[in-house]
């Protein structure tokens, strides 16, 4: 098992550092271009949530991202130093007349995460939230799957 760690302050510009790292790690484990795009989006959403909702943009609070790679899977753990969260809603969210009119233009992040990775785990306490995203290698590329 190999581990790559990226640690950023709660400034959304550094989400791009994590995203670029995701591309390289994804290529290193041989993911297809499409799965790398999927993973990048999921990681981007999780990091932005850690910055926005977890650390609430307090720059002294960090977001720690660990990429753990082995033969079967790539696991990405995104940890914030927020106060934790009781419940997360991963349900499908779409653009519709209602939310367009009410100005609700957010809330797609967790739905993207759910759809774009193979599995996803949350653990949260008053010391922060960790979101673990997993892609199983070759799972989606396997024929007849």
């Amino acid at each position: 098992m190999q581990r790559v760690l990226v640690n950023i302050p709660s400034n959304p510009v550094f989400e791009r550092v994590v995203r670029a790292s995701t591309t390289e790690v994804g290529q290193a484990v041989g993911l297809s271009a499409e799965r790398i795009e999927d993973l990048k989006l999921a990681v981007s959403e999780a990091v932005n949530n850690a910055i926005d909702h977890g650390n609430r943009h307090e720059m002294s609070k960090l977001v720690e991202v660990v990429f753990a790679l082995d033969q079967e899977k790539l696991e990405v753990r995104i940890r914030d130093q927020g106060e934790g969260v009781e419940y997360l809603d991963f349900s499908r969210r779409i653009v519709d007349d209602h939310n367009l009119e009410s100005g609700m233009h957010r809330g797609f992040g967790l739905y993207f995460i759910r759809e774009l990775v193979d599995d996803c785990e949350i653990s949260s306490s008053q010391n922060g939230t960790v979101m673990t995203l997993r892609l199983y290698l070759y799972a989606k590329d396997a024929p007849n799957d």
């Binding site: 959304p12 989400e15 791009r16 995203r19 795009e37 989006l41 233009h105 957010r106 992040g109 993207f112």
Partner: protein, 109 residues
């Protein structure tokens, strides 16, 4: 950072807004959505240079959807990559901002 994020091209009733940044995200969102105040009866967002869009970016794009509905304008997306077509379908964005081909636009010139 000093480069324009959107470059405009206009002809007849049409405005084509070429998104010049590769990343439609939290960082570029403000500069992109600023352009939604100057739409035309037919407004086309050109994604040719866009390599990445996340939900912060979608939220900026929804400002164009809202403005097009308010103004009674037609809104289209052009040169959307297959990955981003998938993303737009997932959230049914494609219903409010259907894809148009460069060739189809030519009829308006």
């Amino acid at each position: 950072m000093t480069d324009e994020v959107i470059s405009r091209e206009e002809f007849g009733d049409v405005a084509v807004l070429h998104i010049q940044t590769t990343s439609v995200d939290a960082i570029s969102a403000a500069a992109i959505q600023a352009a939604c105040t100057a739409m035309r009866p037919i407004t086309v967002l050109d994604f040719a240079d866009v390599a990445f869009i996340n939900s912060a970016g979608i939220s900026a794009l929804l400002k164009f959807v809202v403005a097009s509905r308010k103004g009674g304008y037609k809104l289209f997306a052009m040169n959307v990559s297959p990955h981003h077509q998938k993303i737009f379908k997932m959230v049914e964005m494609s219903r409010f901002m259907p894809t148009i081909k460069e060739e189809e636009l030519a009829t308006y010139r």
